[in-house]
């Protein structure tokens, strides 16, 4: 399935794009998606502390996807 991944902050800047599409097997997890994103975008390869969200709520890397979620990956937050 094709999933679109939103990128934010340093990840977005490193990727040069606000979102990226990757192909993953059915039932792929967020961690699988992140692996494909990093394979596609070399500047993200050294990012070791990603935070994931599914449909605007935090999710863990082992979360399995249906392909219909709004997915985002971003670095540890620093608002305030």
């Amino acid at each position: 399935m094709t999933v679109s991944v939103l990128l934010f902050a340093r990840y977005r800047e490193a990727a040069g794009t606000p979102s990226v599409e990757v192909e993953v097997p059915a039932n792929a997890t967020l961690a699988d998606v992140w692996d494909r994103v990093r394979a596609r975008i070399p500047s993200l390869r050294r990012e070791e502390r990603p935070m994931f969200s599914c449909d605007r709520a935090y999710a863990r890397g082992d979360r399995a996807l249906t392909g219909h979620e709004e997915i985002a990956v971003f670095p540890p937050v620093s608002g305030g």
């Binding site: 340093r10 935070m51 670095p75 608002g79 305030g80």
Partner: protein
């Protein structure tokens, strides 16, 4: 649940947050204002820039409001966070909590800013005379803790 939870691109002011939480049955309003500071770890800062995953940020701020009400009994919470570029001294975040009595208002307000810094998807970039850097949080993943 009452409350105001918003990511805004324009300057924010504390009066807006206070108006959102004030009411005749409340005797105490505690606020916290984060402002753009001119230095960080000894280095002069010229400007700040905030980037947010706005839709999720507002959702998470609302979750923090619910959590705060559960912990402190304070349903009247406002959180406004600005995005974009800020000049030194401008508010980046304004929190207001109203309660019947001072202690829960103060404790709840302190809780909100701690949680905001932990889990709301907003990122800060510092601009210096000779460059810029994204600031990275301490980064425990909320879903795994």
């Amino acid at each position: 649940m009452a409350g105001l939870y918003r990511i805004v691109e324009r300057p924010i002011d504390v009066e807006e947050a206070i108006r959102a939480v004030a009411g005749p049955d409340r005797g105490a309003i505690a606020t916290f204002i984060g402002t753009a500071r001119d230095h960080h770890e000894g280095r002069p800062v010229r400007a700040l820039e905030y980037h947010a995953y706005a839709e999720m940020a507002e959702q998470v701020m609302r979750d923090i409001g619910r959590e705060t009400e559960a912990l402190f009994g304070t349903p009247h919470v406002a959180i406004l966070h600005r995005t974009g570029r800020l000049t030194i001294g401008e508010p980046s975040v304004v929190i207001a909590v109203a309660a019947e009595h001072r202690r829960e208002a103060l404790a709840a307000c302190a809780h909100v800013i701690e949680r905001l810094k932990e889990i709301v998807p907003i990122w800060k970039k510092e601009h210096y005379a000779d460059g810029a850097a994204w600031i990275e949080g301490s980064g425990s993943t909320p879903a795994s803790t």
